[in-house]
Each structure stands twice: as C-alpha cells, then as structure tokens.
C-alpha cells in the first residue's frame, strides 16, 4: 500500500541517530524557550532558526518541527500555570487550564494537554500522509493565476484571525506586501527601495522582521507589566489523570482533532482558529462535571488537541503548494529557501525523503514531547518562577545573537531594533503583526505570479479568473470577506475574542 510505503521512506529518512538527536534537542529547546513568558512559537522559531542553517535540509526541518511543537507546548504550560498564554492559540487553554491549576490540578491539566497533543498529532500525521499526495497532484496543475488566487485567499483568511478591526488588518497586509517588494525586482533585478544599501539588495531579512515584531515589541510591553509576576505559581502535585478524567477526555480529544485537522489546512487558518472552534463545540456538546471556564477538563483537552492537529495539518499547504498557512509556516519556508529548496508541488516528486521524512518526524516530535515533558514539568515550573527582569535581558541577548548569525551582519541588528520599535508602536495602535508578516512572505511570490499571469494574457486582467480553480478560490476569499463585514458574524467574532481576553 502506498501509505505504508511512503511512511516507510519517511521513517528511513527521519530515524537516523543524528536526526533523532536534533529532533530531541529541538523539542527540548523549543519547550524551554516557549515556556518563557511572552515568547510564542514564532519568536522562538525566529530566534532558533539560525542554529539550523548549517544542518542538512531534512535534519534542519526536523529540528524546526521539534522546536515548533515544543514551543507550542511550552506556551500551553505558561497558559495553564500562570494564566499567561505565550501565543494566541493557547489563549483558550488558559480559560479552563488556569482554573484547574488554581484548584491544584495543574499537573493533570499539563498531562491532559500532552496526551491530547500526542493523540491529535498521531491522527493528523496520518491525515497528512493521506491528503498531501492527491493535493500535490492538483497543485501541479496550478498556473500563476491559480497561485495568485490562493494567496489572496490566504491573506483574506489572515484578516479573520487578526484580533481587532478589519480595515487596519487590511492595512497591515498591504504594508506587509509593500515591505516584501524591497530588494531586487524579480525580473530586471533592478534594486527597489534599497536606498543604495547593499544589505537591502536581497530584501529585508525576514528573521529580523519576525523577531522585531513578535519578540522585541512584546518584550517592551511586558517589561512594564510583568514585574514580579513569575512568583505566582501554584504547586504542581499529581500529574496522573484519574480514571474518570481519562474517560472524560477521550471524546473531546477526538472531536478536537477532527476540527483541528480540517481548519489547519485552510490558508490563514491553523492552530488558533482550531482551538477557538473546538472550545465552542465542547461547550455545546460535552456534559462536564464542572462548568466551562471554571476548570473543566474537557475545556483543556479539546482545544489542545485541535491546536496541535491544526499545527500539524498546516504543513500540508506549505509542503504541497509552497504557501504558508501562518507565520510559523512562513518561517519554515524561509528556512527551506535558505537551504536552497523551493517548497511546492515538485518537492513530493523530487525529494520524497525530505517530504516523508518531515511528515514522520512530526510524529516523532510529538512522541518526544510526551516522553520529555511529563518528567520535566517540574523543571518548566521552576523556570517560570524566575523573575521576568532576570529573563528578558537573556532573551534579548539570544535574539540579538540569533539575528546577527543569520548572515553575520550587524545590519540585521539595526533591522531587529527598528522593527521592534515599529512593532511596539503598532501594537499600541491596536494592529496585529501576524497579517503583516504573512503578507511580507507572500508578497514576492504574489507579485511574481501576478506579473506572469498578466504577461501571458498581455495585460488582460480577466486571465486571473479564467480557470475554475482560481474562480473558486477567489469566490471563497470574497465569501470570507463578506462574512467578516456582515454585522451578525462581526459581533460573534468580537464576542469570541472578548471571552478569551
């Protein structure tokens, strides 16, 4: 059977002592940094990305996947123990997880989160193995117009997820696209917006952008508010869920996995939407012993499973189409491009080892997560009790060294500082950085495909809607846009975000 043969290729590629070692280190370091307050997966990956540059492509992606899962789990740890979600997708976990921790069941919540993540990860790995090859078949037929339409859909999707008003999020997308045009023109190689600086000839370094917007900007806000917050941790006693706990989390985990697997594939979707959706479904469906919002174990299990399944299946558009579904995937694509690999439908055919190796390593990463985290929870707890004023200079230092080592250039440090300042101002204005970063990554691809599509049609814009696939994708984008604008859904969306706040 194809599935098994493919997974065998993957196990062959991924299960080498070297790869396992890097996967292990990735999970460990990812959790370590993700568990630091205020650092989500994007900042964590941006910070650790340079370490992987020297590795072979499969190994580096495996390590990055490990870092990603680790960072996500680390974010859930802070959400549960100190009610400080490191990233938006664990916002939901904090609702019931922190309440469980206050009742002395923080250990159980952490264990449930790890178990839910592992089950979801296992199922989602199989989903990827089943869905990716047929999708890559479709993707090979994509021309520039279809790619353009798909990216429009992805960018529109990212507006849905941006907390806050629609129009500013749209502005952030346009700004991101604009920043993406800095550097050499794709056709004539004429420099654009580089101000004569040779450092900008290849465009703005995107590690610096992500690090500045997500890491530094957040830090400036946190330094003022988080003084002494590290100490408020409850004691973590028992980790083992009781038998009745186990019985109660089976269905939520499976429902969460199903929701997460589907939503993760959508461009612009991914983990955060999945955890929101899973939580609201549980609220309607599950008969919990305790009301939701006051420590319901189902309220931890379902969104954590959804979150992880979504994180996993968001690799599908990345690997088969070369299109990032979220900023994390954008970073992964950046890493691949630095390795000299252009992600897209050809990867599956030309580099099956890489493709299946990554799929399998996701599952291995999840397994490590369980093995590693349950015994190490005590350590993460201790880490959280370090006061923030001792942590943030260290985080900042590692960010600076990370940004510098991308290309051994001090220019990248000026960019980190600059984008840190810009990101801070934007966050105070109420603008989310995620749409900007996604647009920044998609910008060059979008321009390239738009230009090629219009060149083929000699400037006739109807070429963009000439095939059923591109029409379908653009209609989907329009529907999403209309849905956001329509007042009924807008108020529902506001409510969802308020509940989480």
């Amino acid at each position: 059977m194809d599935l098994i043969a493919n997974l065998a290729i993957g196990f062959d590629a991924a299960v080498t002592p070297l790869n396992l070692a890097y996967c292990f280190v990735g999970v460990l370091v990812g959790t370590l940094i993700g568990a630091l307050p205020g650092l989500g997966p994007v900042a964590t990956i941006a910070m650790l990305l340079p370490i992987t540059f020297g590795l072979p492509p499969v190994t580096s992606l495996i390590m990055l996947a490990g870092i990603y899962y680790g960072a996500q789990y680390g974010g859930s740890t802070t959400a549960i123990l100190i009610n400080l979600p490191g990233e938006s997708s664990s916002v939901i976990t904090a609702l019931d997880g922190y309440q469980m921790a206050r009742k002395g069941r923080g250990g159980v919540a952490l264990a449930v989160s790890a178990i839910g993540s592992f089950v979801a990860g296992t199922i989602a790995t199989i989903v990827i193995a089943l869905c990716a090859p047929p999708l890559a078949q479709v993707a090979i037929q994509f021309g520039p117009a279809e790619y353009f339409a798909l990216m429009v859909l992805g960018l529109v999707g990212s507006i849905v997820l941006a907390q806050g008003p629609l129009l500013p999020a749209f502005g952030m997308i346009v700004l991101g696209l604009l920043l993406g045009t800095v550097g050499a023109d794709p056709e004539t190689s004429a420099p654009r917006f580089s101000g004569g600086l040779p450092e900008l000839a290849d465009g703005i370094g995107f590690v610096a952008v992500a690090m500045g917007l997500f890491g530094i900007a957040e830090m400036v806000s946190n330094v003022a508010t988080m003084e002494g917050k590290g100490s408020a941790i409850r004691k973590v006693t028992s980790l083992t869920p009781t038998r009745s706990d186990m019985r109660r989390i089976v269905a939520p985990i499976l429902r969460g996995t199903a929701i997460g697997s589907v939503l993760g594939v959508l461009p612009g979707g991914g983990a955060i939407l999945a955890s929101f959706a899973a939580y609201s479904v549980e609220k309607k469906v599950a008969r919990s012993e305790v009301p939701f919002g006051s420590g319901a174990i189902e309220g931890v299990a379902a969104p954590e499973a959804a979150n992880n399944a979504g994180a996993q299946t968001s690799f599908i558009p990345m690997l088969t189409l070369g299109i990032p579904a979220n900023p994390v995937m954008a970073l992964m694509i950046g890493a691949l491009i630095i390795q000299g690999i252009q992600p897209g439908p050809a990867i599956l055919r030309e580099q099956p080892q890489l493709f299946w190796g990554v799929v399998v390593s996701m599952w291995i990463g999840n397994a490590f997560l369980v093995v590693l985290n349950l015994p190490l929870i005590g350590l993460w707890v201790r880490l959280l009790s370090i006061p923030y004023h001792l942590l943030y200079p260290a985080i900042l230092l590692f960010c600076a060294i990370g940004a510098f080592s991308v290309s051994n250039s001090t220019f990248d440090l000026w960019l980190v500082a600059g984008f840190g300042a810009v990101g801070y101002v934007f966050s105070k204005l109420g603008c989310e950085p995620a749409p900007l970063v996604l647009a920044f990554i998609l910008g060059p691809m979008m321009e390239d495909n738009l230009r090629r599509a219009l060149m083929l049609s000699r400037g006739d814009p109807s070429a963009l809607v000439s095939s059923p696939i591109s029409i379908g994708l653009l209609v989907a984008a329009a529907v999403i846009l209309l849905a956001i604008i329509s007042p009924a859904i807008r108020s529902g969306r506001m409510k969802a975000f308020q509940e989480s706040a």
């Binding site: 370490i51 008003p165 129009l167 500013p168 749209f170 502005g171 346009v174 700004l175 696209l177 604009l178 045009t181 023109d185 056709e187 004539t188 004429a190 654009r192 917006f193 530094i216 400036v220 806000s221 330094v223 003022a224 003084e227 006061p387 923030y388 004023h389 001792l390 943030y392 200079p393 260290a394 900042l396 230092l397 960010c399 600076a400 060294i401 510098f404 080592s405 051994n408 001090t410 440090l413 000026w414 980190v416 500082a417 840190g420 300042a421 801070y424 101002v425 105070k428 204005l429 109420g430 603008c431 321009e447 738009l450 230009r451 219009l454 060149m455 000699r458 400037g459 006739d460 814009p461």
Partner: protein, 150 residues
C-alpha cells in the same frame, strides 16, 4: 465636540505616511504596463492602496467609538532597542563578551527592579555563556575579547 477614536486616527495617518513615502520612491522606477510590469508597477499600486486604506482608517476615527491613545513607553523602548544597537556596534570590534554585557546592562535599565547587584552578575554570566556556546562551540566568527586584551 465629540471625542475621536485617536488610535484609529494615528493608525490611518501612519498608513498614509508610509504609503506616500513608498509611492514617492516608486514613481521613479519604470512602470511598464499591466501586461509587462516594470519594477515600479506593483509597489506603486500597493502604495496607493495603502494611502487609500489609511485615509479610510482615519475616517473611521469619527465613526467608531472613541478610544484614547495608549501611552507609549518611549524610555523603555529606547533602552531595549538601543541595547540591541549597542550590541551591534560592539560585537565585531570589542568582542562578544563586552557586547553581551553592554546589551544586558542597558536593557536591564528598563526594569523597575533594576539594581546593579543583580545586573552585573547576570551580565557577566550571560557573557561567559555566549562566548563559550556561540563562539567556541558554534564557531560564530566574532572575537571574544577586544584585540588589546590578548
């Protein structure tokens, strides 16, 4: 007079300003036509779109519920971003040890709990870790100490 959504007003202003700046530069690039776009075509379109969006956003400041501007913590922002710049200025010449210590000390000043009694040991410890891990183990091509220290 009705209170404005000041946040939205500034946001729109920032968008218009950035759009205008990009447009001013992009119009010097060859535009080409839709069928054969030059380097300036796509950016110029985006810059104009950004200005339009910015104008609409500032218009929203009248139409939406009033929101005051949040206070910008300029001092902390300068200390934290500045410490990265200081690191960049020092790392190639003075070496990673001094650069790391400078970054830690400058950024630590942003903390309300700042005290040399913890800041100096932290700076020294982190500098030692960085020199060992990044330069000795990972081979980052920068000096550990300034040249005259040898």
């Amino acid at each position: 007079m009705r209170a404005l959504n000041v946040k939205r007003l500034w946001m729109g202003f920032v968008f218009v300003a950035i759009g205008a700046a990009f447009f001013a530069v992009a119009r010097n690039y060859p535009m080409g036509t839709a069928g054969r776009m030059g380097p300036g075509y796509f950016p110029a379109m985006l810059a104009m779109l950004l200005m339009v969006v910015g104008a609409l956003v500032s218009l929203q400041s009248v139409l939406t519920a009033p929101e005051p501007m949040e206070r910008l913590d300029i001092a902390r922002l300068l200390l934290i971003c500045g410490s990265v710049v200081v690191f960049g200025l020092l790392v190639r010449t003075a070496g990673i040890a001094l650069a790391a210590m400078a970054l830690v000390l400058v950024s630590a000043l942003a903390s309300r709990a700042f005290d040399l009694r913890w800041a100096i040991p932290l700076a020294v410890a982190l500098a030692a870790v960085c020199a060992l891990v990044f330069v000795r183990l990972l081979g980052l091509p920068v000096p550990v100490l300034p040249p005259f220290a040898y």
